[in-house]
Amino acid sequence: MFRYSAAMTLLGGLVALVTAVAPAASASASTTGSASASVGWVRCAHLSPNTPAVDVYMYAFGTTSNPTILRHVSYGNVSDYMAVKPGQYTVAMRAAGAPSASKPVLSNSFSISAGKSYTIAGVGPANGLRLQAFDDQLTAPAGKSLVRVIQASLKEHNVTVSYGSDVLANKLAFASATNYQAIEAGSGMVKFSSSGSDTSAPVELSADTVHTIVVLDGANGLKVDTLTDAAGSQVAPAGAAQTGFGGTAPRPVSPAPWLLTMAAGALLALAGFASLRRTRSGRTGAAR
């Protein structure tokens, strides 16, 4: 009986080993990814006509170290968007070239959320300058262009802006912005009406793209700047991309031959063991 139980233990152990190995072999390691990026985006603008150039500092709230610095930002300048970690930030403006430790002319705190974009602008006349955050949009309705107007002309206090039959801004006051509106994409002339006269300027408003039209004081009358707030693919391809033919893929090898070998071995061992038991009991019987 000892041999019998020993053989059973051995077989049992092997079966356990097989069941342990097989799932491990079929599991595939796959993920490469780090945590998904969650950032917000900020761009800075100088929209105060009679304020000289400034240096813009952006600090993580409550710190004075490692600010992001935009140097010599003058009227009409708008930075590209910068990706930042979501959270509270303090934006400070100093006269261009002023020491970074000097007292800022102006500062304000803003909250940046993940997946959202903002334009932080110095707006208003020099004697009433303030830092204001505009909430920007990322997504235009399919096939349309999403457009808003920021009025930063001090020469003209109210400006009406139209594009084709769409009125983008109606008597928009200095230092204010319209909501976004969806319009037909295309290129054309944008018209500005103010107290003085009507002017127009060519703009290109792309489909699936978000734009801000900024009305600025020009050397003569008004001028316009068309910003791109966000853009994506014009048409999103369906589904995934088939970019491989398998030449370097790990070849899955079937475990069946090995499992069959083990089964055959187990059968052979069992047969031998059973036969051994029979001969032993037969011999015992004969000796009696």
Binding site: L227, T243, T279
Partner: protein, 221 residues
Amino acid sequence: MKLPRKRLWSVTALTAGVLVVGAGTAGLIATHGHTSTVRLASRPSTVPAPTSPEFSPVPNQTAQPPGGLSGVAQPALPVKLTIPSIGVRTSLIHLGLQANGSLQVPGSTTVAGWYTGSPRPGAVGGAVIAGHVDNYHGPAVFYWLRDLKPGDKVYVTRADGTIAVFSVTRVQEYPKAAFPTSVVYGPAPDAELRLITCGGTFDSTTGHYLSNVIAYATLVQ
């Protein structure tokens, strides 16, 4: 004499059986006992970053200064892609859509392609570049894409000789059944790049990989 012979057979069968089980187990462990993906041993040597008269490799410590009014002037078309850290240096072809609406992929496995429906590299939005991970026999242009690390530089040379420099932010693998369409092709407020290839398990019945590997990068210069 009859009994001992039978006994000998029994012992031999038992012993042989146990040995065969042992051999089978050893074979199974040897061929299936590891889960790491098989990768080719030799990595390509790195290639130098491209240079142009406008390009200075010195990183700018502060954020990029406001370059005047950031209007909607389009950058020139992309013509070449260089990723020094993984040895990629390829021309860029143009990719459109296939009849079924999916992304066209390069006919050659040695070049990558820019999806013409996506923003141009360096313009606002996520520019999309796809390349094969392998051909029928071995590695293709984007074989090492999954090894990109955050901070690795990606250079896109444009038709006018200017170079857009991107920095990798992350690399992620997605099952194709859950392809992140809105993340890859959706809007972005800054100039970004998505490099797409295949990965994961290869399904030999369909002849396609089951996952896509996507490297995300943002413009730094």
